[in-house]
Symmetry: D2
Subunit: 129 residues, 4 copies
């Protein structure tokens, strides 16, 4: 039975665009905030680089919603890379977007990818769907 990491994000007026809803690029920011919190909790270190994103936009988010929620599970764990499934839901619970995101742990000084430790692999495995 896999754990699901859940994180709430605030919806800002600045997130909207002239179509009256949250701009599509901001969805990636919502996912990023949740993923940062996930990395921090699961790995104790939020530094990573995004390698690939696949995202299906399903529903609008509006400023009046005030919040949205992200659910994250682990789909695949490589040596230095992590594939997560990320579901963004409106405050009312509707799926706003479904994403698959590949990240790599990052050494900012060396500017290079670094492998997950055994302990980190164990922590991430708990979130495997």
């Amino acid at each position: 039975m896999a754990l699901v990491f859940e994180h709430q994000v605030g919806v800002r007026w600045r997130d909207t665009d002239a179509l009256g809803h949250v701009n599509n690029a901001v969805y990636l920011t919502y996912l990023e905030e949740a993923r940062d919190a996930f990395y921090l909790q699961a790995l104790g270190d939020p530094i990573y680089v995004v390698v690939r994103v696949e995202i299906d936009f399903r529903a609008e988010i509006r400023h009046a919603d005030r919040t949205a929620r992200v659910a994250i599970t682990v789909e695949r764990l490589g040596t230095t890379s992590l594939t997560t499934r990320e579901i963004l839901r409106t405050a009312a619970g509707e799926v706003a977007a479904e994403a698959r995101v590949i990240t790599v742990r990052w050494d900012q000084d060396a500017r290079a990818a670094i492998p997950f430790s055994e302990q980190q692999r164990g922590r991430l495995a708990e979130f495997s769907g």
Copy 2:
């Protein structure tokens, strides 16, 4: 022989994040600016909604670059949907990201997708790879 739509975007200091490079979500904004210009030129109407994005991040963009470039071609044309291939390059010409984006033309009043006209289909076909 297909046309390629090319568009230059400015890189802002605000686009960077604390890793010292342009934040990954901003790549979608760069693509969006180019796509808006493409829609405007090819269709005479820049109103559309993004349905799906697949994006591979290849290289960093930095504020010192000052500009980046996007090249757009048409991969598939549906009744109301358009699949574009979008290549983001640094000022030096390095590929920073490669994306496939599905959009639908959008009627803002009806809040519904609308079909491309025959004339629009003809214009878009010129950009088919």
Copy 3:
């Protein structure tokens, strides 16, 4: 004895820039979020336009802070305009910025300023410093 309106905002990774701290323009977004919540609570209607901002930047905010807080009081109430004092504090309680902001209530259809009602004036007076 004046009421103070308090509102917490989330600090996002996307809010930072390449100097490693929250970008100065984002401070206005933090104030805006709090002001929207204030307008909504005090007036029941968050639609307004910003006319003037004076802001003194006092301290950095960092992503690791995760949250910041805004305190709002009313300094002056005109026929259609409202002058607020807005204090932004880090999660640790340090003053990050002090601002004076003039807004006007806005009729989006008429694209014109509209006067506060007597009931609204009464609500706003409770927050006068």
Copy 4:
């Protein structure tokens, strides 16, 4: 006779909000882009920190404008601080905002303000109104 530094900025769809115009916080980003270019040209070094902003919002900017322009002159030059007058204009030439901005040159490693050199003072004096 003082020089005026002029800089054009691109207007992005992402800069708009649900009121259909460019969000007020983004005006600071437009000014920042122009100021960065000014610092780079006049000082050869774009690293500074914003201490205070006074900004009067005069007119809307819309995505259809595609560009806006900023004109910068020097109002006051202190030991480490610079006060600039910054006028933001729409593509049609209408004044969108007038700002007075105080910045200090910044040593990112020392995290401290640093004085302008004599050569830099001479360059800045050419832009004094």
